[in-house]
Structure formats: C-alpha cells, structure tokens
Assembly symmetry: C2
Homo-oligomer: 558 residues x 2
C-alpha cells in the first residue's frame, strides 16, 4: 500500500459519495468550492536544514521529515493540503529495539534535543505535531517494532512491539487463533503503543473493553531509565502503574513493548442494523441493554440527522427511496434513528444474547426484519472507511471534522443538544451554515460516548478555513468543558485539547499530572506541549490561537 503523504490511508482507496448524498450536504451548507492542494515536492523544498547532530539511527531526509510533521487533526490536514507546515521535526529515527530507543533518549539528553514518539501518525488532536522550539526536534517512529514477540496461551497475554499497527496485531494473533478485539476507526494505521499512550477505545469495547482493560503491562523507556510493568491480573497494592502511565502521551516516556490480554477467536460474530422510531426509544433501548448486562460486542445509535446522512452517503438514490418507503410504511418517519449492534461469542452465547436484544428492541418499537442482517454486514465491511470520506469531500470543497466526549446517561440529551447547537450556530455570524449529526457508540452502565460529525464549507483561503474550524472547535469544546463531560473519550488530549484539560481534572488533578511530568522530565524534553500545555510556546501564531482557546476554557472553569 502507498500511504497518502497529505491525507488518510491507502492512496488506492477512494470512498465514493453518491450524488444524492452530496446534494443533501449542499442543501444545508450551500455550494462549495475546492481549495488548491500543494505538492509533496513544494513542501519538501521548504524543509530547513536539520539541527540534529549525526547519529546512525537518525534520518534527516526531507521526505521523512515531511511525512512525520503532522497527524490527522483538521489543522494538520489544512497544513498538509496548503503546504504551510510551519514546523518540521529535525529528523526521524526508526529504532528496532527497546535498547535503541534508550540509546536515542541518551542522545537526546546529551545533545539537548526534544523527542516526539510516533506510532501511526493518526492523532486527531495534535499529539505528534512539533511546536517551534529553540531545541532540535527528533521524532521517534516506532513502526519497525511491529512484531508479536510472545504469546502465552494459558494466560492469554500477547507481547507486541509498540509500533505494531492494527492489521498486524490482528493478523499475527489470528494465525494463532486469537484476537485482541481493539478496533478504533483509525485501526488500519494506528498502533498498539499509541492506543495505550492515548487511552483509545475500539468499536467492540462492549465485549473487549477499552485499551485500559486490555493493557496488561509492558516496557516504557524514560529519561530516568526503563520502567517494566509486570503482568499481574489485579492488585490492591497501591495505585496501578498501568493506569498512571496510560494516557501520559509520551510525557513520562515511550512505550516500546506492550503486553495485552487477548481472546480466542470467537466461533461467530454478527452485526445488525435496526431502525427505532425516535431518539428516546433508541437511547432507552441501548441503556436498558447495557444496564441489564446483556452480552454484546457493540452498539451504536445514530440520531435522526446522522441516520439520514448515513443513508444518503451509504446508498444509491434508488436504494434509499425503497428503504425510505418501507420504513414509512412501518410508521418510521423523519424522527427515525438507526441502531447498529453486534454479538460475538459462541453460537449458543450469541443466540441467547440475540433473544434478549430483540425483545428489548421490539419493546421500544424497533424494526429490523430481513434488512437488519444485510445492513449489519454492510456496516462491518465499511467500518474503517469513514476516515476516507474527508479525502472525497475535500475535493468538492467540503470540510469535515468530528469531536467526541462521554457523559452520564442523565446528561446525554442535554449535552448532545448543546454540542450540536454550538456547532450549528458557530458560523452564523459569518453567514455560514454547518451540518451536524451525532451517534452514541461506546456504552457503559453509567453513560455513553457522544460522537459528533460536522460538515462546513471551505472558505476562499486556507487561513479563513482554519479560522472557521477554530470557532467551531472552541465553541463545542467549551460546551463540553462545562458539561460534566470529558474533553475526549477516545482521541486523547494532544495539543488541541490541552487547554480544556483543567476543566476536567481540576486544580489538584492538574497538579498530580504536572508533578509527575516535572519529576520524570524536568527539562520538558519529552513531547512538550502535549497533554500539558507548554509554558512558553515558541510558535507565535499557534500561541495566539492557544491563548484564545485557553481564555475560553478558563472562562468555563472559572
């Protein structure tokens, strides 16, 4: 596969957008015009001389530096498309062992270098984007540490190199009859070390848990030395080092080996899509199922706006009209929502789960029928393809981004409405409409994640387009920060969410994080500006934007 240098995924894959889908978007946001993309050559020509002293593991070629300069956040996307990168790392290293990572950390200390750990480069929150610095910046790409190093079948624990991406995690396990079961939407590119470092969650978290439940131990290289976290099933002996290192996003150290709890491949896995008459019915049904502990592997509820959009983007017009007529015949009007769910286990387990699920869905007016199975299968085949949508809409001048949070059940409706409304109205003063829709996709007895997607028009320039995004992001993030919610349920903090972290953690929580980072890395050499804001950000443009975000966040906290 050839990986796109300035967008998502495999160059050979293009996600088609049906004409009636595009018309639907335009009917909300108006006609759109594309911006011009920069070429890789023009960007490579901008790369300045490296400030890094020579080292056998460090590559300073322009293309390596361009390809490691940005992740997949919306600002990253604009940088890659406009060619206006701002900052490049001074070099990239591709270590193959923990001891080479140690060697690189020693080199960084010796030569006063900043270090950014890089997994799949899929961050949507600025984790791996370098900030301008007086010091040279080294990106450590763990992609060559991609092997299943050990599999203990009795204890069902697998050890992987931290740079192993989703497909290589699963294929190496599948060859032995096992699965990890961690399927974030970024799965094709994101890595097991990145999942741990940023606490990700996968689509089948209902069966397999979040990465927190899978992470059994491993090795982290820090500036103070190697930290080996043993695999112990559970312990009451003080706070768990797994929980303290997970989510540190490279600030305490770099994971080089990750041990995870794996599961034997299930005998059977099935996905279904049903339609629910309205939001309350859909939400109540999934809450009931998760609170009654019915074994399932995933649930997702698209609100009416998302159901409508997805049906337009996922079907041809003729198919859509047939389905729409059928659903209306069944009494499902414009308020209908879409509920996708999956069961994974033995055939017997799935059969008994399905019996319970269908009873609950039916009691809330769910309609599935023969379509449920077919649409479930379509969902499962396209489950990692959504990120490719940005590529397609971009060529039409349609910008798309997502944001996500989680909150308790009693707050779901209010927060979803507030986030959607913040986005829908954020650009009204500029005369711009925004198309917004939401789903719940990670269910807990206590609450759920909320995942919102929004389309807006590219402006006439890159700068103005970025400005539109900033308004949208700030408004929605401020709503989340004051909404009994997390600034990120599954994407991490990175640089984009760092200003909002104090609202979630509180003063003493921030003190805990700062104290640990300060102790492990007093020079702020490890991924500075990520998770915790850099005290003296060098890049002034970036700094001004941060400052504005911070003020918004503070007004929320205060």
């Amino acid at each position: 596969m050839g990986r796109r240098w300035n967008g998502w995924g495999d160059e050979s894959y293009i996600k088609e957008v049906p004409a009636h889908g595009e018309r639907l978007i335009h009917s909300v946001i108006g006609e759109t015009h594309a911006l011009t993309d920069a070429t890789l050559e023009s960007v490579m020509a901008q790369v300045p001389a490296s400030r890094l002293p020579a080292h056998p593991l460090v590559v300073t070629a322009a293309e390596d530096r361009v390809r490691h300069a940005r992740g997949q956040s919306f600002p990253d996307w604009l940088a890659m498309r406009s060619g206006d990168f701002g900052v490049f790392p001074d070099g990239v290293a591709y270590p193959e062992t923990s001891s080479q990572v140690r060697e690189l950390l020693d080199y960084a200390v010796e030569h006063d270098v900043e270090v950014i750990p890089y997994g799949g480069g899929t961050s949507v929150a600025g984790h791996i984007t370098p900030l301008a610095s007086q010091r040279a910046i080294l990106t450590i790409d763990l992609g060559r540490m991609n092997q299943l190093m050990e599999l203990n079948e009795e204890s069902q624990i697998a050890t992987f190199g931290a740079g192993t991406p989703g497909p290589l995690v699963e294929s190496q396990l599948r060859a032995r009859g096992y699965t990890l079961g961690h399927f974030p939407q970024s799965w094709e590119l994101s890595t097991i070390g990145g999942w741990v470092a940023s606490r990700s969650s996968g689509q089948q978290s209902l069966r397999y848990g979040r990465i927190e439940q899978m992470f059994a131990g491993g090795r982290m290289e820090t500036l103070l030395g190697t930290m080996d976290i043993p695999t112990i099933p559970a312990s009451s002996a003080g706070p768990d080092m797994r929980e303290i290192t997970m989510g540190m996003e490279g600030r305490m150290g770099i994971f080089t080996e990750v041990k995870v709890r794996v599961t034997r491949m299930a005998e059977e896995e099935r996905f279904f899509v049903v339609f629910m008459p309205n939001w309350q019915a859909a939400k109540t049904a999934v809450r009931e199922l998760v609170q009654n502990k019915v074994p399932m592997s995933m649930m997702r509820v698209s609100n009416a706006k998302e159901a409508k959009t997805h049906l337009h983007l996922g079907t041809q017009e003729k198919q859509f009209k047939l389905l729409d007529r059928f659903l209306r015949l069944m009494g499902m009007g414009d308020e209908r929502c879409m509920l996708t769910y999956g069961v994974t286990g033995t055939k017997y387990q799935n059969k008994t789960s399905l019996k319970q699920i269908r009873k609950v869905l039916k009691s809330h007016g769910g309609v599935g029928g023969p379509l449920a199975n077919i649409m479930g299968s379509i969902w499962s085949h396209g489950r990692f393809k959504f990120p490719y949508l940005r590529e397609t809409t971009w060529t039409r001048g349609i910008a798309v981004d997502t944001l996500e949070t989680s909150t308790d059940w009693d707050n779901i409706d209010q927060l979803m409405a507030d986030v959607e409304s913040a986005l829908e109205t954020a650009l009204r003063s500029d005369g711009e409409e925004v198309m917004v829709f939401t789903h719940l996709s990670h269910m807990y007895t206590q609450g759920s994640s909320i995942y919102t997607t929004y389309f807006f028009r590219c402006a006439d320039s890159y700068e103005e387009t970025l400005e539109r995004w900033r308004k949208l992001k700030n408004k929605a993030s401020s709503v989340i920060a004051r909404g009994r919610a997390t600034i990120s349920h599954q994407h991490g903090v990175g640089k984009d969410h760092a200003p909002y972290l104090p609202a979630e953690k509180g003063a003493l929580g921030m003190r805990v994080l700062n104290t640990l980072v300060q102790d492990f890395d007093p020079q702020q050499r490890m991924n500075p500006g990520t998770l915790l804001e850099k005290s003296n950000a060098g890049n002034t443009a970036e700094h001004a934007a941060k400052k504005a975000q911070q003020e918004a966040a503070e007004s929320v906290v205060g």
Copy 2:
C-alpha cells in the same frame, strides 16, 4: 450489636467448630494450649495522657483510643489479646461532614498532628495501627458519614458517605431496588471509603467487578484542599484521577464521599458447590469458563487440602462421612477439590449461564447432583462468618491467619505450591508443623487470586507466638515478592506489606508513589508508614522487625 473490642465482629455470634474439625487440625499441628486474654479495663488503664490540644470534634477518652488503636492483622490480634498495645492514638474524631474533615485537617496542620483515617477498622495489614511518633496522633473515624446521599437511577450512580459499612450500603440501596454487589469477607464491618482507599475486591467480582470498576468518583479532602473527582463514564484525557487516588491508603487525603456504579437487584441469584476429581481439572474448568466469558457472579476453587478442612469445619462428623462415602462412590478420592460458583441475573440469563457452566464442569469430571444446590446455599449463608473462626480457634490455642496474592494462570500452580511449602516448613526448625490450604476466588481471563489460610500453634508466650507469625509471614511474602505476583490482591499494603512493595512496583514505580505523596504531604502527616515505609520509624521494636522484613525483601529484589 455489640462489637468485640479485641477481636472480630458481633459479640453475640460464635462460630462453632465441630469436634472432628478440631481433631483434624490437632492431627497436623499437635495439641494446643490457649494464652490468657487481657481485659479491656487493664488496657484502658495503660492509655497515656493525650497530647492533642482540645477541639470540639476530638474525643480523648481511653476507650475510644483503645478501640481505634488496632485493626485485624495477626499482630493487631496479639496486641488486643495480650493487652500489649504499644501505641494508642492521642484522640479520635467522628466527623459528620466533609467540611468537618477539612476542619480536622486544618487543625492537624496547625498543631503538628499526624492523621489516621479509620473506616471499619478491619485492616489486616496494619493500615490504621499508629506508629510511635514525636507528634500527636489523631484517628479520624468516618463511621458517622454512613448515608446514601444521592441515587441517580438513570445513570445508576449512588453517592455515599465514605464511612458507610457494607450492610448499610446494601440496605439503603435495596430499599430503592439496587445493589452495589461488593462483598468482601469483611463486609459486615468494612466501609465503602476503606474499599476505595485500599482497592478491595468482593466475592462477586466476576459480575460486579472490583471496587476499581465500581468507583465512579467522589470527594477527597487533602492537605492541599478538596479534590472532587467527577463522574465520567470513560475518558482518554490523560490518566484517570480515580486510579491515582484509589489505593493511596490515606497518604494523599481522606475520601469523604464516594460515588459508585450500582445495579438493579437481580431477578435471581443462585450458588452451587460441585466436586472436581483433582486440582488440574478444577483449575482448568474455571479458567475455561472465565476465558470463554460465560456470565457468572462468582467462582471459588478450594484445593484438596482446603476442601477437606472446610468439610470438616462445616459439617458434623456423620454428615461428613455420608458425603465422603458418596464422593468415593463417584470416584472422588483424596485429591478431590471443591468448586463453588454463583450466577446472578435474570432467570433467563442464569439458565443460559448454567447450561454453559454445567457442560464445562461435566467435561472436566465435575460431580454435583442434588447436593450442589444445598451446599451452595450453605456457602452463601455462611459467607461472612469465616473471620469469626479465629475467635473460636483462639480459645483452643490455635492461631490462624491468611494471605493472598494474584498471578497469571501459567504461574498459579508454581506459586501456590511455593507459598504453601514456605508456610509448611517455616517453623520446622522450631519443631512446629503448620496446617496450610488454599483457594482461588477471583478469576480473570489472565489469572486468578490465590488465597492461603494457615493454622499454627500458639507458643507459651505472646512474644514467641508473634515471632512464629513473623517467620511465617516473611517467608511467604518473600516467595510472593519474587513470584511474578502482587503482595496483595485484596487486602492492601498498610504497614505489613510496605517492605515488599518495591519488588512489585520497581524503582520507578516507587518513585511515582513517593513523588505524589511528597507533593501532597511533605511533612508525612497523613497516615505515615502506610503504603510507603516511614523513613525514620520511631518504635524501635517495630522498627527492628521492619528492618528484618526489608532486608528479606531487598534480597528478593536485588
């Protein structure tokens, strides 16, 4: 209920030991002679003048100070029985609100006082036992903060005062149709705040999880101010403050309010006991069930020695002989093990679980029949009565203690054998035999807890009896510390396990804990010596013992 001042639980309850049970113990450890108990009056007479300045919330009466001086560890037990307490707190406060706890912390800072948080006083690892100090010591008993303060039925989150003991947690929830489902063996006395502070686990962790999975947030009063941890279902925004505060055992602060995830009372709950032909069959069966994710609420496997002992202690001789004959007819000889399990849920869920469970148990030679149900019911009625056994055996001069750990499945047999053998041989040089047996009671896909009980003879003096215990505890703890295991799966660290913590956490893990405690409490005012050893322990006798333990632990680590 009148609570025993020098032992476990309700004064009116006595656990009888059948004659053939006592004979079995004596057949291993020999004839025994009881030691003489001190009276409460004689201990009260020893209590020195309080060093605490007057405060309206602080009580300095001798009986309060005696009743808060010790927990339920074996050394605590000997202290309470001999009357040789060593150190008493200088006073006890019974706050009724978070703000009163704050007030007490301010008082402690102002008057240079050490603070020990006290829940149910059930620690078996020395958490609440004061160390001798130049500073006055105040024990804060949270027992008056025992109310269900709020129940959010939609999000299934309950807020409790941190001092609420197990029975009051459950009765207040049951009145509303809910359960927490946390049932440690100490449940009758231990409190929700203590469970969180020391990361406890209950008998039905297979359904409800450990306290880590239940703890949704709450309030902790620290010397730096109040830390409110919000209820968020899940977050990728950096390390989770719940995980950082849980298990801190009072070193960072005192939990005053605890929010927990609750569950609607199940339609049905059933327990069963079956016999398995041998250890390998029993262990393999429970591993298969948990790794296949069959929904259950508890499993416990007693090894052959425990099965034999429990049947002798739990039945009359005639009953035992009938059962033994039946089992031998079924081909179950001396190697037979006992497997207790439970299902909790809707009737339909339980039916489908039981179908899967019985199939697996049968495939490994399990025998239950009509007895399974009756014995399961007997287990569930006696489930919190085991701690009363110490009271009964003590009057015969039989000392009993337990220790527990957890490890991965591939290490279970080796570690169990090593711990049992360390205990069985620990007193051989003194010509003493020890009776040892083990069960697994908390199952994870990765491994299991190991819970070992041992009986030994009281010596002719309290000092010598304590010395015997020290040898036993040190030998077994050293085996655990070098055995890919935790020094405690469910009892916490306290003071007794603190010397072994470095073997589990490693140098950098210990650095993390020390850094946080140092930042929150630079004067080591909060529960000093618990979790992390006190740098300059004052009590010389205690100190010498610790030193010996530490050296043992270090030889293990090194």
